[in-house]
């Protein structure tokens, strides 16, 4: 017990003293999430462009009114309005002659909304011109609905990807220590192998918990991401997911002699999962012929489980498939890792 706790304590100390490990484990996932989230539309808000043909007092008043609407931009066009509309440069074209505005829109839904906004602006201008007191008022409040914004999708995906990466790379630490002869030195003590490995796994679990907290908190602070499910029920998924990927990492450490080989193998395992296992977009959007491949990727089950819990509040009892898949990986790769585990480099 003493050996186990001391090992975990020292493992954590070493981890927090290694700048590169800190970066890849904690800073990178967060930066990555913010970057992807910002690049792909987690930024809320409306933007539209209206083209105005014609001039006069009505035209300038309408331009004034539209420019006050947030996200709306207006251009005065002398010719070629229809082409601009067709090309999608503007959502609506307003042709103004005297006190008559002729709105031309397309069949795009954005165009429909924008034409309504323009009509509303014209209505407001009429009311103002009549100097009538307002009888009815409406105010707007916004509420968030889970599963509709991209960050709801992205945050659990990034969490899954992060668990995968740190799990896979936990094995490479073993390679470094093995090639330095530290593992052999430890084998010269009565420390049981199980305690050594157990302490390593525990250390990674602590890391996984910190990562999960960090990612969910940043998603909330930056993107107003609000998880629906009970976050405690994330823990079994985190633990099993991390374990599954650690066993793969240990297996790689067993078969690879050098860091170079291990990194290559790790990339072969992790890259397809990053793009095909539902981290950044749903698996349902993959081309049909790739889907069977996606179904054998362990990360797919972790991301779908995490997403179900965090976004939809699905109880764990409904996630047996995901649990079985991850447990299968952990058992099979765990057995392989034990079979291939080596305390020292073979001499050449």
């Amino acid at each position: 017990m003493n050996a186990y706790l001391t090992l975990v304590q020292m493992n954590l100390k070493m981890l927090f003293r290694a700048r590169d490990v800190l970066f890849w484990n904690f800073a990178f996932p967060v930066l990555f999430m913010v970057l992807i989230g910002t690049a792909f539309g987690a930024s809320p808000g409306f933007s539209a462009h209206v083209g105005i043909e014609g001039s006069g007092s009505f035209a300038s008043a309408l331009i004034q009114a539209l420019r006050h609407i947030k996200g709306m931009s207006v251009s005065v066009i002398s010719s070629g309005g229809i082409q601009a509309l067709q090309a999608g440069h503007i959502e609506v074209l307003a042709r103004i002659a005297g006190h008559q505005a002729h709105l031309i829109r397309t069949n795009a839904s954005a165009s429909q909304s924008v034409s309504s906004i323009v009509q509303g602006a014209v209505m407001a201008m009429n009311l103002q011109a009549l100097h009538q007191p307002l009888l009815f008022r409406a105010t707007v409040r916004q509420i968030s609905v889970q599963g509709t914004s991209y960050i709801d999708f992205l945050a659990p995906g990034i969490l899954g990807m992060t668990l995968m990466n740190t799990g896979l790379f936990s094995g490479t630490m073993l390679i470094t220590h093995r090639s330095q002869g530290i593992l052999r030195r430890i084998r010269g003590t009565p420390l049981p192998t199980g305690i050594f490995i157990g302490a390593r796994i525990t250390t990674q679990m602590v890391v996984a918990l910190i990562q999960a907290t960090l990612i969910l908190v940043i998603a909330r602070e930056v993107y107003h991401f609000t998880p629906v499910g009970n976050l405690w029920s994330l823990i079994p998924l985190l633990v099993l997911g991390e374990l599954a990927f650690m066993t793969i990492g240990f297996f790689i450490a067993g078969v690879a002699n050098t860091m170079e080989v291990a990194s290559a193998l790790t990339n072969i395992v992790s890259l397809p999962m990053m793009f095909l296992a539902g981290v950044f977009y749903p698996i349902s959007q993959l081309p049909r012929f790739i889907k069977p491949l996606a179904d054998i990727l362990p990360l797919r089950y972790l991301t779908s489980g995490l997403r179900a819990v965090v976004v939809h509040g699905t109880p764990l009892t409904h996630l047996t498939n995901d649990f079985i898949a991850l447990a299968l990986v952990a058992v099979v790769c765990g057995a392989l890792a034990v079979k291939f585990f080596r305390w020292e480099m073979p001499r050449v």
Binding site: L5, R17, A18, G181, R184, G188, L191
Partner: protein, 300 residues
């Protein structure tokens, strides 16, 4: 006295190399034993078999009465080791390393006094990565002593160290012996073996060629001293009873105990009216022993 270490007909085969070849050995308690031999002699293999890190293909190895192959855990609890390529976790301090290794054993020494003895107390907060070679070897020695072992194995504890650092390790080994522990160390340096060891084991190609105290080895294989004479009318010395050897115009005498014979020799020379121009007495070394045993030099 029952032996602390007992090896009987040990065989260890690596592919085509026989690293230990029917080797037998016995070490009694409280001795410092130096295993001397050229690269690839099997020194490390011998130690690692005794440490429970390598398994024998045939034969038996016992440490403190335990069969190393079967009772590995019991042996590991009671011995201290320092491997040839010693490394510890770079990002831990000396003290943390000691805490960590201490936690692996059921019995351990008082940490502060151990660090103090080894001159590591002032360095206890330093990261292992920032230590010099000599300091690292002292850490390795501390880790070998952390469980208060009865036997310690040191594989080349001074290789790569400068003379001052080497002397420091020597005095620490001396200290460890005075605490009553048995020390088995390997070395390429015959002066190290000569200085530290009660017993020297000369190994080559997985076999023990000779074993004994330094004096005994020199006596048995070379004579303790070598007398070299240069002068006039001395040629008669090649005949009995003196049996000198002529070597490049000089006369060389290997003699077990020079001081016992010197008076008699000098008066004999004087009485014959011969003249000595030049007289040199050289100590024989373990290198001479090795040369004599294998026809090769120890350090190439």
């Amino acid at each position: 006295m029952t032996p602390v270490i007992e090896v009987t007909n040990a065989v260890k085969q690596f592919d085509s190399v026989r690293a230990l070849d029917e080797l037998s050995l016995s070490v009694i308690q409280g001795q410092v034993v130096a295993v001397l031999g050229p690269n690839g002699a099997g020194k490390t293999t011998l130690l690692e078999v005794l440490e429970g890190l390598e398994r024998l293909d045939a034969g038996e190895a016992r440490v403190l009465g335990y069969d190393v192959g079967r009772q590995t855990r019991e042996v590991k609890e009671r011995i201290g080791i320092s491997l040839q390529a010693t490394a510890f976790f770079d990002r831990l301090s000396v003290q943390e390393t000691a805490q960590l290794f201490g936690s692996f054993f059921s019995r351990r020494q008082d940490l502060p006094s151990l660090l103090q003895t080894l001159g590591l107390w002032e360095l206890r907060e330093r990261r292992v990565s920032g230590l010099s070679g000599g300091q690292r070897q002292r850490v390795a020695l501390a880790m070998a002593l952390i469980n208060d072992p009865q036997v310690i194995f040191l594989d080349e504890p001074t290789t790569g160290l400068d003379p001052a650092a080497r002397r420091e390790i020597w005095s620490l080994v001396e200290h460890v012996r005075q605490e009553g522990r048995t020390v088995i160390l390997t070395t390429h340096y015959m002066e190290e073996a000569a200085y530290l060891a009660d017993n020297v084991i000369i190994m080559d190609q997985g076999k023990i060629l000779a074993e004994g105290s330094v004096g005994q080895l020199l006596r048995d294989y070379t004579g303790e001293q070598t007398l070299i004479l240069d002068g006039e009318g001395l040629d008669y010395l090649t005949d009995p009873p003196w049996n000198f050897v002529a070597d490049n115009g000089r006369l060389v005498w290997h003699v077990p105990n020079l001081s016992d014979h010197l008076d008699r020799l000098l008066s004999d020379i004087r009485s014959r009216g011969s003249v000595i121009h030049h007289l040199v007495v050289r100590e024989a070394t373990l290198e001479d022993v090795f040369l004599r045993l294998t026809g090769r030099r120890l350090v190439s």
